[in-house]
């Protein structure tokens, strides 16, 4: 047992390398003109999807804790949701004994879309070239083969990234993901939401430090300062809970489900609130599509749809009183 929550040297190295790779291949500026899905090759080559897979399955042998920190960076760079589904789909494939499928996903040659259930079937996120989709029904995650399904294109909120409607009446019943994998999915979604909350905070603070009105940087006014402080507080809250949940899932702790439910309950609201505040601090330019602020907001809405907060009140709290109220 170690009781130090400071990042280790190994963690720092992998995150520094990931940061450099993301800056080179996925700068935010790429989203200003085009709105396609991101190519997954640079991420797959980096080993991003296999980070937490066991070494015998071609993974790097890190854990969900490091993987979550990596996905915070992916969130900051607003990478397509196919980078979120890949490590989860690979786990599902591996769990159901489909090693070849898992390998294809880890290498980025088999693409897995995300999906959200809607009244007439599914909304498919980044599903244009996807071979499979992750489908969540009744808290269970499954892989859906998209080969024979018709996809009707829709105009998307996202970064205008591909969105399709798929009419679906029955779900193919194949093996569902283990509880650990379902929890890991929610941890990674929340990690990306934290990336958005942090990215929006930093963009707003940078702008407030340089933009001048009334002869002073607007960040010297308390009204702006307190908005920024609130963004920092929210990001810190989410970051602390992300650590807590990732470690509980990794360790298979009794309260893992509780910690994940807490995480999912707070993550969308925090990302959305920081994105909104970031737009507000930018003023007029924030409302335009020429600043990046709106990109954070839209991706937050996309990821919020993938978050499944469950029923937190039905779970047992680790802080249940041991003595009755007198």
């Amino acid at each position: 047992m170690t009781f130090d929550l400071s990042p280790t040297e190994d963690q720092r190295q992998i995150l520094d390398a990931a940061q450099a790779m993301l800056d080179a291949h996925y700068p935010l500026s790429r989203l200003r003109d085009s709105a396609g899905s991101d190519a997954l090759k640079p991420l797959a080559d980096f080993g991003a999807f296999a980070l937490a897979m066991p070494e015998q399955s071609g993974g790097a042998g890190f854990t969900l804790v490091e993987e979550a920190l990596l996905h915070v960076l992916l969130g900051r760079h607003l990478v397509s949701v196919t980078a979120l589904t890949a490590p989860i789909a690979a786990r599902i494939a591996e769990e159901s004994g489909r090693s070849e499928l898992a390998t294809g996903i880890l290498e980025g040659t088999i693409i897995v879309a995300a999906s959200v259930a809607c009244s007439d079937g599914l909304l498919l996120l980044d599903g244009e070239n996807a071979d499979f989709a992750i489908v969540r029904t009744g808290g269970q995650l499954r892989l859906l083969d998209l080969a024979d399904l018709a996809r009707h294109p829709e105009t998307a909120l996202g970064q205008g990234r591909p969105l399709h409607r798929v009419a679906l009446t029955t779900h193919a019943s194949n093996t569902s993901a283990s509880e650990g994998t379902a929890n890991a999915e929610q941890v990674l979604i929340s990690a990306q939401l934290l990336g958005i909350a942090e990215g929006a905070r930093d963009l707003a603070v940078g702008y407030a430090s340089t933009r001048e009105q009334f002869g002073r940087p607007i960040g010297s006014f308390q009204a702006i300062k307190h908005h920024c402080a609130n963004m920092a507080i929210r990001a810190e809250q989410l970051s602390a809970q992300l650590d807590m949940a990732a470690m509980a899932v990794r360790g298979g702790h009794e309260d893992a489900g509780f910690q994940v439910a807490v995480l999912c309950r707070i993550a969308p609201g925090i990302a959305l609130e920081n994105a909104r505040t970031c737009i507000q601090i930018h003023g007029g330019i924030g409302f335009s599509a020429e600043a990046d602020a709106h990109l954070f907001l839209k991706q937050a809405h996309v990821l919020a749809q993938l978050c499944d907060p469950g029923e937190l009140l039905s779970l047992k709290s680790p802080m249940t009183p041991t003595r009755k109220e007198s």
Binding site: M1, F3, D4, S220, K225, E236, D243, L313, P318, T322
Partner: protein, 382 residues
Amino acid sequence: MMVRTSSDQAPDSEDEIFRLNARNWLLANVPDKHAPHEEKTARDFATSWLSNCHAAGWSGVSWPKEYGGQGFSPARLIVWYEEYARARAPSVLDCTFVGVNHAGPTLIACGNAEQKSFHLPRILSGQSVWCQGFSEAGAGSDLASLRTVGRVEGDHLVVNGQKIWSSYAGVADYQELLIRTEQGSKRHKGLSWVICDMSLPGITVRPIRNMAGVTHFAEVFYDDVRIPLSSVVGELNDGWSVAMTTLGFERKTAAMALQLELSVKVEDLITKARPKPNTAMGEKLADLRAEVAVLRAMTYRAVLRGGGTPFDGSLMRLTFAELAQRVHRTAMGIIGPEVLVDGPWVHDYLESYSETIAGGTAEIQRNIIAERILGLPREPRP
């Protein structure tokens, strides 16, 4: 890996055994009665609880062993305070708080051998009670503008001025007193941190009733109070750095108990309200349950993660303050017409208004976060 939080598994490690020992001792020894409000009986209640803890080896949990404490590791401190909260042990924010969590740690860090050997055992056993003398009527959030003076006369300081918001000053034996000892000095310079014996001639205590109707804080007046120079802690005129030594301690370790206690309060509200899923009250309580769990995660991080800056505590401090107020406001909604009758929840609700004021207002905390953590431009100084 992390502190185990499981509650009903067979003990499988030393940490689990530690948790069960703490739980069993607390369940057998926590008093059934709530702490009284009246100052003198509150002192008796608090010091007798502390002395019980002391006799059983559960006092000074965060103090080093060489000073009579338990020297628990950060992880064990968390376990202790989790079990402490879950067993509804008396709030740590009683008249022993300043001694155990502020004056004591300051003496450990900056005091000389004599000061330590005299005061530390008395603090830990509940024999002497301390109060704080920092804030003044004109120096609240802006503490460095304080004006109470100590003039050096031979081997004494002659103190004149007044302090305010000094909790339990009416029943305290000693006070940690921050005064200006260098004539004409400005702001953080020329201050000294002094041990003030509250029985000295020239000290007058005027009790102040708070909005919850109880009198535990006071205004303290000093009229030519002669304090020996041997009571200065650290160097004369270096009091600001002495005061800052324990700021981080207070914000991390001392706050831990109160933060974890809030989780238990939310569990109680859920039990009380029995909300149905998908109702407004159900959603509100689920939000609060999530928020106190997040506060607990922040507590773990603050205690278990190295590095960081002293200002990081502001993020957690502010989260706690505003959340504590929301929890108590929600309680008022759940209790209904009975809120008109004074009771523990109503009392705590009224007391919670101090959370966003004491120890630096929420507004000042936000300035600190924006300027010291995010690096935004400082306020123009007049």
